[in-house]
């Protein structure tokens, strides 16, 4: 089912004509209103009028997470606060978060894209949506909420947590569409089982899952245990939130990118060269309809691949493969973005500790676990157990305060963390996802 037949099944030439016009408008807008973009464009010698074809996009400079952070909180907004009706904050916690804004029209755009997303995932106005994405600064909950209302479906804005109550509401209300992170979907199923409730007897027909990496194996598990079709969704607050791309229920094969609003590129993360369709690389997005917070060639650091063949669902827009990893060292632990450098800064606050540490990420049951191994040298060593344990507890407390993620700190012998030539191996991700 297709929510916006006109735009989702448009012939390529017509779509590209619209993309070019919208790109030109966006480029003009950011150059004239955001000092950062003017400076960057001037540095590489690109003028607004130089964008005369879609190929000219690659002449424009990239925008990175650090650029957004440097402009904290509102430096990248193109409109005065009078025109901003909503503010969201990214889940990342490196120093200052990333702040994004929406005008009233941006909210309409987003709602439209989420209505498209929901319908691609199998929802219609007759459906009842159990929306267990967190509502708040995170874009997930409100994105789905507005999309469902736009579609005309009934929304249960239950947000995350209190899983037993979620199961009770599922039992009593009979929702038909589930939206949450894939790991939470499996947790709800487990809790239902513990409560003696048969999840397979629910009315669910489909779920739209995202905001964390998952796999085909997890899809099979969700579809089997929850007795529903499971679709992958992709989005990030810097672009708009959820609603950048989604799988269709007909094919479940690649995520359709709403190209009338976002232009995707795949680049080599090292050379920054644009790669052809079918070659994996880092996803880069340019928003072409956003008002308050447009971004030009935003480097997502997510590794994926684009393929342009039309889908059997009828959509002509390009598809992206499931995100395969990251081009930087960011980890997503229980939905929170974690950079090893943040943990390093916590460790280095303790006198005498050397920066020999390693992060071990694993998954026990449904929960990600983070173990931080720190080498003990003579400066921090003590012959008393309690002193060493206090140090472990202190590091755990500081990590929790900084990242909002619980970690277990484990002291290890000197030189026991493998040294490698050049770049240290900071992260061992044992999660099988």
């Amino acid at each position: 089912m297709i929510y916006n037949e006109e735009y989702e099944t448009m012939p390529r030439e017509a779509l590209e004509a619209i993309q070019l016009r919208r790109l030109q408008t966006t480029v003009t807008r950011v150059y004239n209103t955001v000092p950062f973009y003017k400076k960057r464009f001037d540095e590489v010698g690109v003028k607004v009028d130089d964008v005369s074809s879609l190929d000219d996009l690659r002449r424009l400079p990239f925008t990175c997470k650090d650029d957004l952070r440097d402009s904290y909180p509102f430096g990248m907004f193109t409109v005065p606060m009078d025109d901003v009706v909503r503010i969201h904050v990214s889940s990342g916690t490196t120093g200052k978060p990333t702040v994004v804004g929406y005008t009233a029209r941006d909210i309409q755009t987003w709602s439209e894209l989420m209505a498209r997303t929901l319908m691609a995932g199998g929802a219609t106005r007759g459906d009842m949506l159990h929306n267990a994405y967190g509502s708040g600064l995170f874009t997930g909950g409100l994105g789905f909420h507005y999309g469902a209302e736009k579609l005309g479906a009934s929304v249960i804005p239950i947000s995350g947590g209190n899983t037993k109550r979620q199961v009770m509401i599922m039992t009593d209300f009979g929702p038909t569409i589930l939206t949450c992170t894939p790991s939470y979907a499996l947790l709800i199923a487990e809790v239902a089982e513990e409560m003696g409730v048969d999840f397979r007897a629910f009315n669910f027909k489909a779920g739209i899952f995202g905001a964390e990496p998952w796999s085909e194996q997890m899809r099979e598990e969700i579809e089997r245990k929850l007795n529903m079709k499971a679709m992958d969704i992709y989005g990030l607050s810097e672009i708009i939130g959820p609603g950048v791309s989604v799988e269709c229920i007909e094919a479940q094969n690649g995520l359709h990118i709403f190209e009338d609003h976002f232009i995707p590129e795949i680049i080599d993360p090292d050379t920054e060269e644009v790669l052809p369709y079918g070659t994996p690389g880092e996803l880069v997005f340019t928003t072409i309809t956003k008002e308050a917070f447009p971004v030009i060639r935003y480097r997502t650091r997510d590794i994926s691949v684009l393929y342009p063949e039309p889908c059997r669902c009828g959509r002509t827009i390009v598809r992206m493969g499931r995100v395969q990893g990251r081009s930087d060292d960011m980890l997503i632990i229980r939905g929170v973005n974690v950079f090893p450098s943040q943990i390093e800064s916590v460790i280095m606050e303790i006198d005498g500790i050397e920066p020999h540490y390693q992060l071990e990420v694993d998954r026990e049951g449904r929960l990600d676990t983070l173990t931080v191994k720190v080498e003990v040298n003579e400066k921090v060593f003590s012959d008393e157990v309690k002193n060493l344990q206090n140090m472990e507890r202190k590091l755990e407390k500081n990590i929790k305060e900084m990242l909002s993620v619980s970690a277990q700190v484990k002291l290890v012998e000197p030189k026991s963390i493998q040294r490698s030539e050049g770049k240290a191996v900071r992260v061992i991700d044992k999660r099988k996802i």
Binding site: V376, N377, E378, F381, S382, D383, E384, V385, L388, Q389, K410, L411, V412, E413, P414, K415, S416
Partner: protein, 143 residues
């Protein structure tokens, strides 16, 4: 009247303790007393050896984290209540014992207990004033 103790950080891994004793044995160092404190993921091995300088050096050469602490060796009468006498003296004088363990060798008819105190000087004074025999390091290493 203090005794040098070395302590070694050990991860809870099979064979680590044997590596320590292996290194010391090859260097001709005799272990006079030992105690192991352990948690779920690491342990601290405390040793009194006949040559702590050399022991420390060879262990460091083999990549161990080695610390040095001053402890007190006390003669305890080898009879029921012998240890209690000493602990009672410490208690009455408000001295806290961080940890303690037994020395292998006897000193004449007496047992020897190793104590780790926070305030070691005060502890030694109190013990001696109460007629307890505190064994000097050099004598102990050679016992």
């Amino acid at each position: 009247m203090k005794v040098e103790q070395i302590s070694i950080f050990l991860e809870n891994k099979a064979g680590r303790l044997a590596e320590v004793t292996g290194v010391l044995g090859k260097a001709g160092i005799n272990i006079r007393a030992l105690a192991l404190a352990d948690t779920s993921d690491f342990g601290i091995l405390r040793l009194i050896v006949n040559d702590h300088e050399k022991a420390k050096q060879v262990l460091k050469e083999h990549g161990f984290t080695v610390g040095r602490t001053e402890v007190v060796a006390v003669e305890v009468e080898d009879r029921p209540g012998g240890l209690n006498n000493i602990l009672q003296i410490l208690f009455e004088n408000g001295i806290n014992v961080e940890y303690m363990y037994a020395f292998v060798q006897q000193s004449g008819q007496n047992a020897v207990i190793i104590f780790r105190f926070d305030d070691i000087d005060n502890a030694v004074d109190v013990l001696m004033q109460n007629g307890v025999t505190v064994i000097a390091g050099q004598k102990l290493y050679a016992m």
